[in-house]
Subunit: 159 residues, 2 copies
DNA sequence: TCAAAGGGGACCTGATCGGTCCTGATTGAT
DNA sequence: ATCAATCAGGACCGATCAGGTCCCCTTTGA
C-alpha cells in the first residue's frame, strides 16, 4: 500500500517530541517514554538519525540527543531517507539521480521519474517544525505510543 | 523504502502491453508471455484489475481481457489502488477521506493529509496512455519480464 | 571508579509478499 | 453433446524482511 515503515513513523514521532520539548538535549529513554516507543527501538532510531546528521549526540552520563539543525530546516523527506533509505517507488531511481544507465531508454523513464520526484517533493515540503505545530495529546493514554499508527488505534471509532 | 509492490509493477507492465498491442482483447497467457510475468501471477493480477473495473473480461474459449476505458483516462493511481489498496503513507487516511474520527485532532493531520494527497496527485497525473508512450524494448531478452524491476536488472551496469 | 548514557552490531520471529495450485463456471469449436 | 480453452475465486505455501530485542563496548560526568 505504499506504506511508511514503522522506523520512519517512530522517527518522526520522536523528533517531533524533541522539538516540542525544546530544551536542548534529551536522552533516548526520555524520548522513548515521551512517545511510547519501546526503548530499544527508540535507541535504534535515534542512532540512525544521528548517523544521518539530523541529530547530535552527547555520550557519557547525562548524555542525550539534540537537533543538529533548526527544526524548520529539517524536512520529512530527510527523516524518511535517513531511516528508510532513498525515496523511490521503483528500483530504477534508487541508485541516485543520473546513476541509471538506461535513464534515456527506460520504458517508463520520464514518468516514473516524474512520479518519484513529485512524491519526494511532497515530502520535502513539510518541515519538522510543521509537524510539531499541531499538538493534540488527546486520545493518548499515558505511556502510550505517539506514532501515527497507534494514535489511530486509540480512537473511539475509526479503525 | 516506500516501494511499489510487485503486484502493481506487474499490473502496470501488463496494462501497458495491452495498450501497445491495441487490438482489443488479449488472453492472460498472451499478456503473461508479452511481459514475462509468470502466467499464474499474470492471471491473478488481471482478475484483480477486472474486479476493479479497469479491465473487461470475456470468458470461455477465445476469451480474454480488454481495457474497460480508454487508456488516456486510466491513471497510475487507479491501477495501484486496484492492486495494492488505498494509497496512503499512514493508516490514518486509509479508511477513506472523512472516515477518520480525529481528523480534526490528529497530530500531523493537515500535514499527512497534504503529503498523502500530493502523492496521490502525482500518481493520478500519469495515465496509462502516458506510460505506453515510450517504447524501448531494449535490454530485454525474449521471454524476459517487462516490469520495472527486471528491466533494471538487465542493465549492463546499473544496479 | 562507577553508573549512566550512547555506538554498533547480531539475532530472533512473525507478518507479509510473491508465487503456485486447484476447483469451478463459461463458452466457442467440433 | 462434448471438449478444450479461458476466466473466477480462493486456498495455500515458502522466503523474505521489517519490527523488535539483546549484548557488549566506549565515553564521560559524578
Amino acid at each position: 500500500m505504499i506504506r511508511l515503515s514503522k522506523l520512519s513513523d517512530y522517527g518522526i514521532a520522536m523528533l517531533t517530541a524533541l522539538v516540542r520539548h525544546e530544551g536542548g538535549q534529551r536522552s533516548a529513554s526520555e524520548l522513548a517514554e515521551a512517545t511510547g516507543v519501546p526503548a530499544a527501538m527508540a535507541s535504534k532510531v535515534l542512532k540512525q538519525l544521528c548517523r544521518a546528521g539530523l541529530l547530535e549526540s552527547c555520550r557519557g552520563a547525562k548524555g542525550g540527543y539534540g537537533l543538529a539543525r533548526p527544526a524548520s530546516s529539517v524536512t520529512v523527506a530527510e527523516i524518511i531517507e535517513a531511516l528508510d533509505g532513498p525515496i523511490a517507488l521503483t528500483a530504477c531511481i534508487e541508485a541516485g539521480s543520473g546513476e541509471c544507465v538506461i535513464e534515456t531508454l527506460c520504458p517508463a523513464r520520464g514518468n516514473w521519474q516524474r512520479i518519484n520526484e513529485a512524491i519526494r517533493g511532497a515530502l520535502a515540503g513539510i518541515t519538522l517544525a510543521d509537524m510539531a505545530e499541531t499538538v493534540p495529546e488527546a486520545f493518548l493514554l499515558p505511556g502510550e505510543r505517539h506514532d501515527a499508527a497507534t494514535v489511530i488505534a486509540n480512537l473511539p471509532e475509526a479503525g
